[in-house]
């Protein structure tokens, strides 16, 4: 087993709907090694997106512990400002998040989006154009998001993530809005680059084929722990 990048222990999260408490994640535990990939599957509402949000600090767990790159987040208690700052710092520099859509700022060109993300992470913006080129959209660098196709936008989103040189990529249905052919192309690029640069990847998807490309698999519909 590779050195641990992420360890999750006893993670629980529930939502309140009216007077009813709906458990979404219950006592979930798993680990992810450096450079490894994990597929999160499960039907809609099974908690895939919620888990990704918990893993990057966008939402707070009700109970459990997350250890990311040696930093421990006790999430049972109300999060302190210092913890929030730590999560922000991790998201800025170590965690790349890719959503199903709308990953780009509409008022910036593709290149400016990549530069923006790299600068936020404290990385050099010099290689931004290279990243776009590596993702086969170098010629579209000066275009705005509404001037390119959905697949090209997702490639740009991946370029943004890799330009920040993350330790962990959290991808929430990154090909959900794409056609099969484009989705395959984008997925291939994602796996290639993840393998080449050795960052961890957690991929939430409905797609069994896509999930099969990952080294580990966590089905939130059937398993409570791995």
């Amino acid at each position: 087993m590779a050195e641990s990048l992420l360890a999750v222990r006893g993670l629980s999260k529930h939502f309140v709907s009216g007077n009813e408490t709906v458990p979404v994640i219950e006592k979930l535990s798993f680990t992810l090694g450096q450079g490894q990939s994990l597929a999160l599957t499960g039907r809609s509402g099974s908690g895939k997106s919620t888990l990704l949000n918990l893993l990057c600090g966008l939402e707070l767990a009700d109970a459990g512990t997350i250890v990311l790159q040696g930093q421990v987040f006790e999430t049972g208690a109300k999060i302190a400002r210092q913890k929030a700052m730590k999560w922000s710092s991790l998201r800025r520099q170590q965690i790349g998040v890719v959503f199903q859509e709308a990953n780009l700022m509409p008022a910036l060109t593709l290149l400016e989006n990549v530069q923006f993300r790299a600068q936020l992470a404290g990385r050099s913006t010099a290689s931004s154009q290279d990243w776009l080129t590596r993702l086969d959209i170098g010629a579209l660098a000066q275009r705005y998001p509404d001037q390119v196709s959905g697949g090209q936008r997702q490639r740009a989103a991946l370029a943004m993530v890799f330009a920040m040189e993350p330790a962990l990529i959290l991808a929430d249905e990154p090909t959900g809005s794409l056609d099969r052919h484009t989705a395959d192309e984008v997925t291939q690029v994602l796996f290639d680059l993840q393998a080449r640069y050795g960052c961890g990847l957690i991929l939430a998807t409905h797609d069994a084929e896509l999930a099969a490309g990952c080294q580990q698999h966590l089905d939130l519909g059937h398993l409570s722990s791995l």
Binding site: F99, A102, M105, P106, L108
Partner: protein
């Protein structure tokens, strides 16, 4: 049976269309509230303006100069005089002014005696009021009152000639107060112009709120279109929807506006009553139909103008690229500015104002967006770049509420400057005209020269005594381009002392007062200067009595009370042939007090009482009327500003909410919520601050138009143009407060989970 599905469909279509408001009841409420508030505001301003105009018209009629009969020997009139005049067939009406030992002045009248005036020539509209002691009462009651002072006047119609009078009597003018004249008219004209601006602003606000809902319903319309519902049918239902809503909201809005105007107008009425001792405020005279119809039209045009002009717009946008629109807006702006400068008449000035506002309103959001893009182009930091690009998007997307705020700010700025200018001018003008503590009429038949000699003797040993004698008559200006050789009023003054020398002049030569005093020059009022195109240094050719004179113009003075041309000269230079129609003294008695002076003058003129006015009291009362009007004007414009600010706040909040995903994206990318809130704050402040900066030149220009273009064209005189940077600062702070409020509302939203954009336009980044 074929009709049933169609009937069902016709019921299900409105159901589907209106389901938007079932899901977004607050949006419907916002639209309804906006219609009610806009209607209330405009109705309030309009109602107040028309009431103020009616009131001032009545007051002018009440205090307008009329004719009275006086005795040649200067003695006070008595009942015997009334009898004597009526016996020879002269129409006179007794007017008995009584000052009770406690309380205000009362006027006893005999309405029966006034019948000879005829219905078209009533002695006073005040006589139409009930004789209830406020202040009019029946002559019999007035004579029975225990009073400190009383005096009988005999008023006579304008048609009465001196020749009609028996021996021992003559005609002279009669007035109860100074005439505020055109200053009031001018103010009301400007107020009406601003009322139109309020209507425009409310229309913009309505449109912005309505379009916001329409944009959110676009997907539903598209779906209905795919289901086979024709756009025409959808549009018909939309017309029905807005008309129904307008009908429900406009009527209560008009009611609220009238209530607002009545509440605010009460104080105005009291002030008028106090000034003229007559119940003058016109109250609730205006009907409901006109404001309801106007506001219905405004709502329909503001909300559905696009539908009505859809085809035209489509054709226009096919022909013209976007840049041409900015060019067209700039052209409108430049044309409006030029037209305002050169306009020969009022309608052209109003058209020019409309053009400038259209151009400025069209350009302002694009200007903010362009400046933001320029700043973005110079930014080296991607975060700053993003912020400026986002600002450009906001400026374009919030065009209507931003323009409404810009117009409201400009209007408030102009109104503030106008009102303050009017206040200053009015104070100064009253101060000039009422510089002396007392105004004393020389009794008919008495010689003013004897009194002048007595006052000259007193001057040396009475500290604080200031006075001058005024002889009024007429002269003819000759040798002008105007073939009519106009008649002008002559005010011959002597001595030219401190009471006159404190006058502020629009233009003057060196040593002008000395030149006037020595008789080597004249001064003229602004009206005469403008009409005859005269300026300081020109020679004025005059026929004074039977003499032809050429006198250099030493100064031009403002005169807001009278439309006629006027000349001020030294009484020492008057020829003997000059017909003195009226003579008076302006006196500040100094230490001994007025009682000693009146005793002396009564002795000189051999009269029992003097016709005398306490200028201080008149000034105080006159000021109170205008203060009240100015306060009302400020209150109404402030309400407009608050409405515009609230609309921008609402629209800003809603639109920022549509961008919430992207702000949350920043959080996902590692910025803390506090940092994102900081970016939000900077964006909101840049937006509202930017629009305030753009409103500033528009407001200053509007002030200039009001005082330097509309007034001269309407009345022949200008007001001094003043600017008030402290007030600009206050408005700037208010704009920033709106920005702060938007940011504060959005910060709360940042704490909640954001939903990814769902519309096709948003997904493709179409909000760029």
């Amino acid at each position: 049976m074929k009709g049933l599905p169609s009937l069902l469909a016709s019921f299900s279509l409105p159901g589907a269309l209106f389901s938007h408001y079932r899901r977004h009841p607050l949006q419907l409420l916002a639209l309804a509230v906006m219609i009610v508030l806009a209607t209330m505001l405009w109705t309030g301003v309009n109602h107040l303006t028309s009431q103020a105009r009616a009131s001032l018209n009545q007051s002018e009629q009440a205090v307008a100069e009329r004719q009275q009969v006086v005795r040649d020997d200067g003695q006070m009139l008595a009942v015997d005089d009334f009898v004597a005049l009526r016996l020879v067939g002269v129409c006179v009406m007794p007017w008995l002014e009584v000052t009770p030992e406690t309380g205000n002045r009362l006027v006893g009248i005999d309405p029966l005696a006034a019948y000879c005036f005829g219905s078209r020539n009533r002695p006073s509209p005040a006589l139409d009021q009930p004789l209830n002691g406020k202040p009019f009462l029946d002559m019999g009651v007035a004579t029975a009152i225990k009073s400190r002072d009383s005096r009988l006047y005999l008023l006579t119609p304008d048609t009465t000639q001196t020749a009609d009078l028996p021996g021992g009597y003559q005609l002279t003018s009669f007035s109860t107060s100074p005439d505020t004249g055109e200053l009031g008219d001018s103010f009301l004209l400007n107020l009406e112009a601003l009322g139109i601006l309020v209507l425009l602003i409310t229309a913009l606000l309505l449109r912005s709120v309505y379009l916001l809902g329409l944009v959110q319903r676009r997907d539903s319309f598209a779906l209905l279109h795919r289901f086979g519902v024709s756009p025409d049918r959808v549009q018909r239902w939309l017309v029905f929807e807005i008309l129904a809503l307008a009908l429900m909201c406009v009527v209560p809005g008009v009611g609220l506006g009238r209530w607002l105007a009545a509440g605010l107008g009460g104080g105005f009425g009291q002030a008028l009553d106090g000034l003229f001792d007559i119940p003058l405020y016109a109250g609730q005279g205006q009907g409901w139909a006109m404001p309801v119809l106007v506001m219905l039209a405004v709502v329909v045009i503001a909300c559905l103008g696009d539908l009505l002009l859809l085809r035209f717009r489509e054709r226009l946008s096919l022909i013209l690229p976007k840049t041409v629109y900015s060019g067209l807006a700039a052209l409108l702006l430049v044309a409006g500015l030029a037209m305002a400068w050169l306009a020969p008449s009022l309608p052209w000035v109003f058209i020019a104002v409309a053009l400038v506002f259209a151009g400025a309103g069209w350009l302002a959001p694009y200007a903010v967006a362009r400046i933001a893009r320029w700043c973005a182009g110079r930014s080296t930091k991607p975060l700053a770049l993003w912020r400026y690009r986002e600002l450009a998007v906001l400026a374009r997307r919030l065009t209507l509420p931003l323009v409404a705020l810009q117009f409201a700010l400009a209007m408030v700025l102009a109104v503030q400057a106008l009102v303050t200018t009017f206040e200053d001018t009015f104070d100064r003008w009253l101060g000039q005209r009422l510089e002396a503590a007392y105004y004393i009429e020389v009794p008919a038949g008495a010689d003013g020269r004897q009194a002048a000699e007595w006052l000259t003797r007193q001057q040396t040993n009475t500290p604080g005594l200031q006075w001058h004698r005024v002889m009024r008559g007429q002269a003819q200006v000759t040798g002008t381009d105007n073939a009519n050789n106009p008649q002008v009023d002559v005010f011959a003054v002597a001595p030219v002392g401190a009471l006159i020398r404190s006058w502020s002049l629009l233009e003057a030569a060196d040593q002008h007062w000395e030149a006037l005093d020595s008789g080597s020059g004249v001064m003229i009022n602004e009206q005469l200067a403008r009409r005859q195109n005269l300026s300081v240094g020109n020679n004025l050719k005059l026929r004074l009595g039977n003499q032809q004179r050429v006198m250099p113009i030493q100064g031009i003075y403002p005169d807001y009370g009278r439309p006629v041309g006027e000349i001020l000269l030294s009484a020492e230079t008057l020829p003997d042939s000059f017909n003195v129609r009226f003579e008076s003294f302006s006196v500040t008695p100094g230490k001994p007090g007025i009682a000693q002076m009146t005793d002396a003058l009564q002795g000189i003129w051999q009269v029992e009482a003097l016709s005398m006015r306490d200028n201080g009291t008149i000034r105080e009362l006159a000021t109170s009327v205008f203060d009240q009007t100015f306060a009302l004007t400020r209150a109404m414009t402030l309400l407009t500003l608050i409405l515009a600010a609230a609309a921008l706040l609402m629209m800003g909040w809603v639109f920022f909410s549509t961008r919430a995903w992207y702000f949350r994206l920043l959080v996902a990318w590692g910025m803390s919520q506090r940092q994102v809130a900081g970016q939000l704050l900077r964006l909101a402040l840049l937006l509202t601050g930017g629009i305030a900066v753009l409103a500033l030149p528009l407001g200053i220009w509007l002030t200039w138009v009001l005082v330097h273009r509309i007034n001269p064209l309407a009345f022949g005189w200008t007001l001094p143009m003043a600017v008030y940077p402290a007030f600009w600062f206050e408005l700037g702070m208010l704009s920033l407060a709106v920005g702060l409020s938007i940011a504060a509302l959005m910060r709360r939203q940042l704490g909640r989970p954001a939903v990814a954009p769902v519309s096709a336009s948003a997904l493709t980044g179409g909000e760029r």
